[in-house]
């Protein structure tokens, strides 16, 4: 734990030349801005073929037969495969209920039925059209509530059996006889007693919709086997080390024989956290043809066949005492699991944290049923369930405050967590700037005064009505221990000219980790940023890391990089002390020199010192390694445990204007206050917050993946509306620096945080503007207009069972 406190003191001592808190342009920005970055789409491997996938287009059907003969006969086609050609394929995904190529049944229109490798994309496309599949339609289930009915068709009603090459059969996914894919249950305290003691109780049902990541770089992979049958993948994955192992298992080879290279990734946001069928399919095609196979989605395919954010139906019952102390929360959610299980089903891990621990709530009850349907399946997506949970929780914070006649800010302050607290779920908040976030966001937005003023216009004749709304969030900020290790490794080498190469397990997906890791290392070693290169994209080179998710990279990989840098520093200063005949403690590194700590006098040029170490009798190079494992815990079976090494907090106040004649909600201003521990790269963190707010804005106001009877109706940017530049609001961003004792230079994770509050805050603002509370997202003009005119479809729970 400790090495970092000292670092901070050091940094403070030479505050004039510290990099921490300064504005550093991203290292990869010039390449990207000038169009030089080679994304996977730009990479072409000699001899490569082009892969394409035939999707079912059926919501639910039995495959009677597949005829690929005409496709195989097309000149330029090298392979056409179906499930029959890969009897050894293993199921993928979180629950292992999903075969990449579907053998006898399809459960959604995106389902992969066959695949082609050909000399060109055009030929592959033409070959797909020649494949004849005979389907027998089966009754579809496209509503999670309907899927729970006793007579509902079963989507995974049979055991999924995998037969190995040795003929041994193994049940890899057990039948679900009620369409339930997963369940979660968490409880603390005594709900019944708490409810009896409550002065106010509110209950509502909330409905959260489908959105998708819309990464500017579409999904893609290049798979290639070498002459010894080792697999090389160029992949956009966010978890290369976990996937190495899965692909090896799929192929029945040693994981050491799988190498994953990550070209610069055009956006991840969680969408690349699971294995999806296109990846094994590209591997199958490479196997079948003995050639490299490149498989890149079209934009339409990206909409149709990449994961979504988890849609949730959520019933929340909350209570508080007359003096404004929360008493209990009871939550039931129905997660539409879609046709197969991916990470979306596991969002309750995060949702229950918000329910139980954002505010102090003595009694909590949380339950989720994730239910199979023929709808799209959801993956992880920035915020991981937290947008959904926060939407409901923060609506109830306003409703309860109103019920007891308390100011909503005061109500939140009364229930907000303090530093040092350990919640019943086991989270220990070593650093916590939550109350400061609340106060600063409220103050800078003039929240209290505006909220009272805007309420006055509910019944006047104005067409345009303004409102303010507030919401807060708690999210992991120091990794999340969901795998056996949540660690990250670093290798650091310094060459003869004192140039550093930082080799890190951490993946860069545009979040700026390269830059921040380089800063942290330079800060330790007193070097300018120009003297470090970062290598982070090849599993044969980089040390292990669990992956880029859970807002963990700056925290975990940052600590790992600092660890390696401190070892290098010790080695350098020890050598310098020997040469200078001085105490190590009297020396430091700065500006490429060994200096006298007390006076700052330059004693030795660093690169000369390094060369003299190298070219001497006891020849030595400066190379260090470090593996950082955060001091967090796995949650137990009751979902209790201190799952992260630090926690991030934030409050956002939004100001909106509602056009009551069209339903358009304009987001005018977002005032955000985030406890980020410490600002490392100010430019980078501002970008993270701005980008996150815009993503949250899209979730709240514009984005809607329309799924009707299992079919996605708007798989294009014309009708799936991302936020455009003129819609982006004014932002006022404050950083609360709670300086976390475990964080690198005191920093905590911030990647997901800024997206989490926006929808919840906008919901509260619409109420403040109009007196109408909306329980379902998105707040698109028609939905808002309907709500204002009493035409909204009510959100109901009505699950039979």
């Amino acid at each position: 734990m400790g090495p970092l406190q000292k670092t901070r003191a050091d940094a403070a001592a030479r505050s004039s030349d510290t990099l921490i808190g300064t504005r550093i342009p991203k290292k990869d920005a010039p390449q990207k801005a000038s169009g030089r970055t080679r994304y996977i789409d730009d990479i072409n491997v000699p001899g490569q073929l082009y892969g394409k996938i035939l999707r079912s287009g059926q919501v639910h059907a039995k495959i009677r037969s597949i005829d690929v003969s005409a496709a195989r006969a097309l000149p330029g086609v090298h392979a056409v495969i179906t499930a029959a050609d890969v009897p050894w394929q293993r199921p993928i995904g979180v629950a292992k209920d999903h075969l990449p190529l579907k053998p006898d049944r399809v459960r959604s229109p995106r389902d992969e039925v066959a695949a082609v490798a050909a000399d060109s994309e055009d030929i592959a496309e033409a070959a797909l059209k020649l494949i004849r599949v005979d389907y027998e339609p089966l009754p579809p289930v496209t509503d999670a509530r309907a899927a729970l009915k006793p007579d509902a068709p079963l989507l995974h009603g049979d055991d999924l059996v995998w037969t190995g090459p040795d003929g041994r059969a193994e049940v890899v996914h057990a039948a679900s006889r009620d369409n339930v894919a997963m369940t979660f249950k968490y409880a603390q305290g005594d709900i019944a007693r708490a409810e009896a003691d409550s002065a106010a109780v509110v209950e509502d049902v909330f409905q959260l919709h489908y959105v998708t990541h819309c990464c500017m770089g579409v999904s893609g992979v290049i798979a290639e086997f070498d002459a010894s049958d080792n697999l090389l993948l160029y992949s956009n994955t966010q978890v290369p080390f976990l996937h190495k192992r899965e692909f090896a298992e799929m192929l029945g080879i040693d994981p050491g024989r799988v190498r994953i290279i990550q070209p610069p990734i055009g956006g991840g946001f969680g969408s690349k956290l699971d294995i999806y069928p296109f990846e094994p399919i590209a591997i199958f095609l490479a196997r079948a043809t003995g050639r490299p196979v490149k498989l890149i989605f079209t934009r339409e395919e990206e909409f149709l066949a990449s994961p979504t954010r988890q849609p949730v139906l959520l019933k929340l019952r909350s209570g508080c005492s007359a003096d404004g102390a929360l008493t209990f929360r009871a939550v039931e959610t129905l997660h539409d699991n879609g046709a197969y299980t991916s990470w979306g089903a596991t969002t309750p891990f995060v949702m229950m944290q918000t329910i139980s621990s954002l505010y102090r709530v003595p009694s909590c009850d949380y339950q989720t049923l994730a239910v199979y349907t023929n709808n799209p399946y959801s993956g992880s997506f920035r915020g991981y369930g937290n947008l959904q949970a926060t939407f409901a929780v923060e609506a109830h914070m306003d409703k309860l405050a109103e019920a007891i006649g308390m100011d909503p800010l005061e109500f939140r302050l009364k229930n907000a967590q303090d530093p040092g607290e350990t919640t019943p779920q086991g989270m220990n908040f070593k650093s916590c700037g939550f109350k400061e976030c609340l106060r600063i966001a409220a103050e800078r937005s003039d929240y209290q005064q505006k909220r009272r003023a805007y309420r006055q216009q509910w019944n006047d004749s104005s067409i345009l009505k303004r409102g303010v709304g507030m919401a807060s969030m708690l999210h992991v900020g120091g990794g999340a221990k969901i795998y056996p290790s949540d660690g990250c490794g670093t290798i650091l080498k310094m060459d003869d000219f004192a140039h550093l190469t930082l080799i890190t397990g951490a993946s860069e997906i545009g979040q700026g980790s390269e830059t921040v890791l380089a800063m942290l290392v330079c800060e330790e070693l007193g070097l300018p940023l120009s003297s470090v290169s970062v290598v982070n994209s090849d599993t044969d080179i980089t040390p292990w890391d669990v992956g880029v998710h859970a807002s963990r990279t700056t925290f975990i990989a940052g600590n790992s990089a600092i660890g390696a840098a401190r070892k290098a520093k010790t080695k350098i200063l020890t050598a310098a002390a020997g040469k200078l005949d001085m105490e190590i403690a009297a020396l430091d590194l700065q500006g490429g020199y060994v200096i006298a700590r007390a006076t700052g006098e330059r004693l030795l040029e660093l690169s000369r010192l390094i060369r003299s170490l190298h070219f001497s009798d006891k020849a030595e190079l400066v190379m260090t390694t470090y593996y950082y494992e955060p001091p967090s815990q796995h949650q137990d079976k009751e979902f209790k445990g201190d799952v992260s090494a630090a926690y991030a907090w934030g409050t956002q106040v939004v100001e909106i204007e509602v056009d009551t004649q069209t339903g358009i909600v304009r987001l005018l201003k977002v005032t955000a206050a985030h406890d980020v521990g410490r600002v490392l790269n100010r430019l980078g963190i501002e970008g993270q917050v701005e980008g996150g707010v815009v993503m949250g804005q899209g979730y709240a106001l514009t984005e809607n993946l329309i799924v009707e009877n299992g079919v996605i109706r708007n798989p294009n940017f014309r009708d799936y509306k991302l936020v455009t530049a003129p819609e982006i609001p004014e932002m006022d961003i404050s950083f609360i620096e709670s300086v976390d004792g475990e964080g690198p230079q005191g920093a905590k994770g911030v990647g997901e945080a800024p997206a989490i509050c926006v929808a919840a805050a906008v919901g509260n603002a619409i109420y403040n503007a109009t007196g109408v509370r909306m329980y379902g997202l998105p707040f698109t003009p028609e939905n808002v207009y309907r709500a204002l005119h009493g035409q909204a479809k009510p959100v109901t729970w009505d699950i039979g069972a």
């Binding site: 033409a126 936020v723 003129p726």
Partner: protein
Amino acid sequence: MSDITAYAAPRSLDEAVSLLQAGDVTILAGGTDLTPQTKSGKLTFRPTLMNIRRVPELSGLTESGGVMRIGALTTISSLLASPLIHERFNGLWQACDHFASDQIRNAATIGGNICNASPAGDTLTPLLTLDARVVLASKPNGSIVRRTTPLGEFLTGPGRTARQPAELLEAIEIPMPPEGFFSAFFKFGTRPALDISVISIAIGAVRDGRKLTRVRIAFGAVAPTAIRAAATEAALEGRPIDAAAIDAAVAAAVNETKPVSDVRASSWYRRELVGNMLRRMLDHVANS
């Protein structure tokens, strides 16, 4: 895979209509509709792709003899840059100002917007309020023949027009409006730019004090084509623009539009918008 076997870039109207007469031609102007439509498979190229951008007779914005002639190739950007359009046909200018993005406006032509015949095509409603006519050229028997048709008759359905395969849209003609004429355009999309109209409204009328005459109202995206709204016009024609007239016009408008429900909006919401936004526009007229 593309089925184009020949590419032609004629340099005169004569050459262009001769090629059309030979048959099996896809006409390419700015390509901003053609490209997405052929890419998505909604439309297939015919064997000859004819790029008409080099045909000089198809460009130009000229006024003569009381008629404004807009060449079919005139881009949305050049309409926006024209002071004449801004002053005399402000509704059309406003439509161009709400049209797509700069990149698209630089390529998109008014002829393409008309021939694409989308019910949501943004220049169509203002053109309808201006009594615009389309000039079609063809070369059936060795010499160029022209016919002129009112735009309202030219638009026959979503993506359908009265254009014969051998005809080229040469120009749009608009009779210069009388003194006191004003026009306006409103487009409802869910965002400020780069959106397809959920509904659009164009109005044009001659104003004498508070009285409106020669009233033209057109709606987009509420019917299979952009339409003139006869009952709405009648409710305003020859009357002073006051609360009663506006109420009557709004009631007529809601009554005479029968929009569809699609991914962009429900029929109910479109009608609500037609009523609310027409009222907003007419209130604006009444108060100015």
